[in-house]
């Protein structure tokens, strides 16, 4: 990115040397997976975002749209996966406009890996990129340092081992769409239950040859919050107030009612 400013870097370096610790960023301590099937590819993710050991967001979105036919699942530093994905999305759109062709997953993969390699791992984005393009269904992954993999099934994030355990034991060649979706769901749920960094719901995106890709937001919701036993509403007037100011955003005008008789001097 040409726009990143390092203006505060020296200041913070100076602050760090005088005994200040580096603060926590939101991370998608995550489970993400992807799996190919006959005629398409599916990716899935959990929806928990964490800041240290606090759950910062219980239903965040880790599936990012790069173009209509390419989607990306992100793990690592949340801001990085979001921003890197947005920028590559813009560049892919420009690229496809200038070439007049549908964007390809490999192009996207190359742009991402060159960008991430340039930043030597400091941009903490770990991504699974998937999509259908003129060369067929594609499934690839990228690590923050810029290395890439290609596979029939992939998993990334803190819950990748839990998910991979499922994928390794249940994946088979020649799966149909439903089987692949079920496998990915089970892999993500394995992360949700067994990995502390992952939790809440399953998001899924299915990309099929010749069809529009479909995002299933909250495809599974195995952690719905139970109805509260009672309401904790406070009686109005509970909180003590020392002062109040009102800023009116609309003008209140009193209009006399039409059929009311007017007083007329006779």
């Amino acid at each position: 990115m040409p726009g990143l400013s390092f203006e505060n870097y020296q200041r913070n370096q100076h602050l760090a040397t005088s005994g200040f610790a580096v603060p926590k960023t939101t991370s998608t301590g995550t489970t993400i997976v992807g799996c190919k099937f006959d005629g398409g590819v599916v990716i899935a993710a959990d929806t928990r975002a964490t800041a240290g050991d606090i759950v910062a967001d219980k239903n965040c979105e880790k599936l990012h749209c790069i173009s209509s036919n390419i989607w990306c699942a992100g793990a690592g530093t949340a801001a990085d996966t979001e921003m890197v994905t947005q920028i590559i999305s813009s560049n892919i759109e420009l690229h496809s406009l200038s070439t007049g062709r549908q964007p390809r997953v490999v192009t996207c993969l190359t742009m991402l890996k060159q960008h991430l390699f340039k930043y030597q791992g400091h941009i903490g984005a770990y991504l699974i990129v998937a999509g259908v393009d003129p060369t067929g269904p594609q499934l690839m992954s990228i690590h923050a340092h810029g290395s890439t993999d290609i596979g029939y099934y992939l998993s990334l994030g803190s819950g990748s081992m839990a998910a991979m355990a499922v994928l390794e034991s249940k994946w088979k060649r020649e799966m149909n769409k439903e089987e692949a979706m079920a496998l990915c769901t089970e892999a993500i749920e394995s992360g949700i239950w067994n990995d502390l960094g992952s939790g809440s719901n399953v998001d899924m995106c299915v990309m099929e040859v010749g069809k529009d890709s479909v995002l299933h937001r909250n495809y599974r919701t195995p952690n719905v919050r139970a109805q509260k036993e009672r309401s904790y509403k406070f009686a109005r007037g509970t909180t003590g107030i020392l002062g109040q100011t009102v800023r009116n955003l609309v003008d209140v005008v009193e209009v006399p009612i039409a059929n009311e008789e007017m007083e007329v001097d006779s």
């Binding site: 505060n8 020296q10 200041r11 100076h14």
Partner: protein, 196 residues
């Protein structure tokens, strides 16, 4: 180790700064003035890293005066405070930041109000009724919190200052050689008799 105090009263601000210039375990000077006048009606008191303090104060002083000369009007105390904050904030992002904490006392002749701004080396700028930097704050803020009133007159303000100095002389484990006292009001900046 330096003492820098500020108290606002109804139409004046009182600034007190210790007279001792301390380096390591020695007192090098007993007539050190830790203030600079920035304009007709504003004064900066400062503490911090040895070389930085005077350099920084005089940088602000020179810029405030340059502005007055160019535009024929003085910057208001609020404007000077914001300018000072900006200088510190920009310095903070440089290779070697200014390690300076300041108080800016002023009297705005347009609004007829006195003001006191507390700014630390991180460039946090707060407008306060009374303020102190460094160790002195731990000894005096409780006294000021208890006795300060918004519409005090100058005499009451000076009484309060004397109580603060007495407390400092009793509790601080070294001799800071008394304080210089300055008043900022509508008539400008003037010295008062030192409190020993």
């Amino acid at each position: 180790m330096d003492i820098v105090l500020g108290i606002t009263t109804k139409d004046a601000v009182i600034i007190a700064t210790s007279k001792a210039a301390v380096r390591g375990i020695s007192i090098l000077k007993v007539t050190d003035d830790k203030t600079r006048q920035l304009s007709d009606n504003s004064l900066m008191a400062f503490t911090g890293e040895a070389g930085d303090t005077v350099q920084f104060a005089e940088l602000i002083q020179a810029n405030a005066r340059l502005y007055s000369m160019r535009n024929g009007v003085d910057l208001s105390p609020t404007a000077i405070s914001n300018f000072t904050r900006n200088e510190l904030a920009n310095a903070l992002r440089s290779r070697k930041p200014f390690q300076v904490n300041v108080l800016i006392a002023g009297f705005d002749k347009k609004t007829n109000k006195s003001s006191l701004n507390w700014i630390d080396y991180l460039a946090a700028n707060v407008s306060l009724p009374y303020a102190a930097h460094g160790y002195a704050s731990y000894y005096t803020l409780s006294l000021l919190d208890r006795h300060h009133k918004k519409d005090m007159n100058l005499e009451e303000g000076l009484e309060l200052l004397k109580a603060c100095i007495a407390e400092l002389q009793k509790r601080i484990p070294f001799d800071f050689k008394g304080v210089y006292v300055k008043i900022v009001d509508k008539d400008g900046v003037r010295d008062l008799d030192d409190i020993e």
